[in-house]
Structures are given as C-alpha cells and as structure tokens.
Amino acid sequence: MFKPIIKIHDATAVSTERVSRRHILWGVLYWAGWGIILGILCVVGGAVVRLLYPRVIYEASKVFKAGRPEDYKMGSVNLVPGRSVWIVREKEGFYALLAKCTHLGCQPIWYEDQQVFKCPCHGSRFYKDGINFSGPAPRPLERLHISLSNEGRLVVNKGKVVGHDYTLQT
C-alpha cells in the first residue's frame, strides 16, 4: 500500500500476518502528512480563486432613469450616453434595446437613413425592432425592461431582459 519509511530489521515480526504497531503508525503519519499538504494547497488555491472576485465593482447601476417620455420624438432611436442602451419610441410605445451585438458583444451603430443597426465588428445587421437579418449574429438584440417611475420618468432595467414584443404604452 505504501512504502515503509523505516526498515524493519526483525524479519519474524512482519513475515506472517503480524504487523508491527510502528509500521501502522508510520503509515498513518505518512498519509496524514500528504493529507495536510493537500489541504493547505486546496486552501491556498481557493484563496487565489476568491481573490480574483472583487467584493465591490465600481460600475454604473443596472437601473437608470432616462428622462421624460415627451423628450423622445416619435420614431426616433436614441442612444443613452454611457449606458449602451437605445430607447426607441414607436406608435405602439417605448422599448429599450441593449446596444450589444449578440454575436461577439460589440456596439452596433444606428443608421437613420437606412433604418438599420449595423455592427462594425463583423457586419451583423438588425432591424429597428432589434431582429437580426444579416451577418453572423445568432439572435435579435436583447430587449430590456422599461417602465415609468412615479415622477413620470422612463426607467430602464438592464438586469431584466424581456420578450421581443415588449413595449411600454404611454
């Protein structure tokens, strides 16, 4: 099972089923020693992995206000500065699209003249409602939860993805 650490010179003591107490104790110590080393390595490894996760991240809140509904023109696509979200106003109501291409995460650009979102990284294209129609993007742009606060401001929640027919009537 394990290599004896000390040689037992008394051949008669180990020749039959008899095992010396010293032999057993050394075996226990041997495996306990390796167990302690393994335990320390696990604790150190776990600590290193834990260290990579910050307790606090200094990022903008996922929920933010985006002005009053009257600020948005009918049929317009508006990029909220610093938030990577478009707020689109249509006759059916408001909806918020996450400005992150579903292919590999670049920020598409809205072309007002062509009424289309184009991603500069790999050429994916999306209609105004976020549906992909060209390029490598596998899914439509994520639609985010949008609601009205008590003071009548639009509130977007980037942490909450909604269905592709979700609109906010005002």
């Binding site: 990579l52 996760y53 910050p54 991240i57 200094y58 990022e59 990577s84 590999l104 995460g105 670049c106 500069p120 990284c121």
Partner: protein
C-alpha cells in the same frame, strides 16, 4: 597580481593554468558555456533540419521581454493615461518609437515562429517518444504566446484594443461550463470566466490592470518557467533534432 588570479579563480574556479584538460574543465564548470551542450550531433547543426525555428522563437521572446521592460517605464495602466502614455512613447520618449516597434514586430514574429517550429517538429516526427511530453509543454508555450499577444492588445487603450478585447472576452463568456452564456453554463454573469477576466461586467479600469498584470508578470513568468522545462527536457532526451 595575486588579486587578479584570485578573481579569475573565484569566477572560473579552474585557475589560470592552460592545458587541454583545463580548457575542458573550464567549459564543464562554466554556466554560460554549460548552456550549450558539450556534444552536438552532426544533424543537430544542420540548418535545414531545424531552420533554427525554436531558437528564433526564444530570441523573439527575449527581444519582447527586454523592450517590454523599457516600455513599462513609460506606460501607465490607467484608463485616463494609458493612451496618452502610449502616444508619449511613440512621439517624445527617446528611442520610444524604436522600442515599441521592436516589441510589436518581435511579438508578431514570435506568434509566426512558434507555430512554424511546431510544424517542423511535426514534420520531422520529433514529437515521438521520449519527446512526447515535451510536445505537450510546447503546446502550452504556444497557448501562452497567444495569450501574451491577446493581453498586450488591450494596453494601448484605443478603439482597436477596446473592441478586440470585447470580442475576445465575449468568446470567454460563451465558453462551455466556465462562461455564463455558453452551453452547460452553471455560473452567473458575475461569477464566470468573463467576470474574472474583466474584473467586472464591462471593460474598464479593473480590466486594464488585470491585463497589464497578466501581460507583464503572470504570463511571461509562466512562459519562462515552461521554457526552462522545455529546454531541459530537450537536453535530457538526447539533444536537438537527432533521430533517436
């Protein structure tokens, strides 16, 4: 005169006497001369057998490490200063452009020469026993070379860096198991590989510092350690490019 003899002895350990035996002994105990093998087979010095591809890869690593050290003196891994300090290196630091271009070209050549070395090893069947584990180490060296290139890409902090790293880390987000968006994902968006790489959910200051650490400390350290093992195993397996 005695002091000079003592200095010579303390450095070379063999005294100043000159004879063929002394010369051989000097080679055997000298670290720099010991780096090269005492015996080299005829095939080992044939240029067309290895094309020096492994040695050139090492050379380009040394060039990137040395020039990278000089660049570190003037570069700040701070989102407000990184781009400006890169422009400073290019425009006002004495020999800055030269150092940056050396670093860039040596890095590109390393990425080209490491796979070429791998191709040569494959074509001459030099991955066969007893060298098969050294092939595995070599694959890890190739991965580290790619990771060094990738992490270095973010540091100029311009549009190209930003979106290239967006693309690369989104791939990490779509990795099976380890990525939040990938198949068989078990980790959330604030627990996955993408989060560890970025130090957050979007590319920002924590990302730049993490990539800087990886590019300047962690990856070159790992690469140097594995290279030492790689070269030691070449010697133990019987030297370079020799049929065994």
């Amino acid at each position: 005169m005695n002091i000079i003899v003592q200095m010579w002895r303390s450095i070379f350990r063999t005294g100043v006497a000159d004879s063929p035996v002394h010369r051989v002994f000097r080679v055997v105990v000298n670290f720099l001369l010991h780096l090269h093998p005492a015996r080299v087979s005829k095939d080992g010095i044939k240029l067309r057998y290895t094309f020096c591809l492994g040695g050139l890869s090492l050379f380009f690593f040394i060039v990137t490490a040395v020039t990278g050290g000089f660049l570190m003196i003037y570069y700040y891994p701070d989102v407000d200063k990184a781009y400006a300090s890169m422009k400073d290196i290019d425009e006002i630091v004495p020999f800055g452009t030269f150092m940056r271009n050396l670093h860039r070209w040596a890095a590109h050549l390393m990425v080209i020469f490491v796979p070429l070395h791998m191709l040569r090893v494959f074509l001459t069947a030099a991955y066969k026993p007893p060298r098969e584990f050294n092939w595995v180490i070599g694959v890890n060296l190739l991965l580290l070379t790619f990771l060094l290139s990738f992490t270095g890409y973010l540091l100029p902090w311009d549009q190209l860096s930003y979106w290239a790293v967006t693309v690369g880390t989104t791939m990490a987000e779509n990795t099976p198991i380890l990525g939040a968006q990938g198949p068989f994902s078990v980790l959330g968006p604030e627990e996955d590989m993408h989060f560890i790489l970025l130090g957050g959910t979007t590319i920002g200051q924590p990302t730049l510092v993490r990539f800087y650490f990886a590019h300047c400390v962690a990856l070159p350290g790992a690469l140097a350690g594995l290279m030492a093992l790689h070269f030691w195993r070449i010697r133990k397996a019987g030297g370079i490019s020799r049929p065994l």
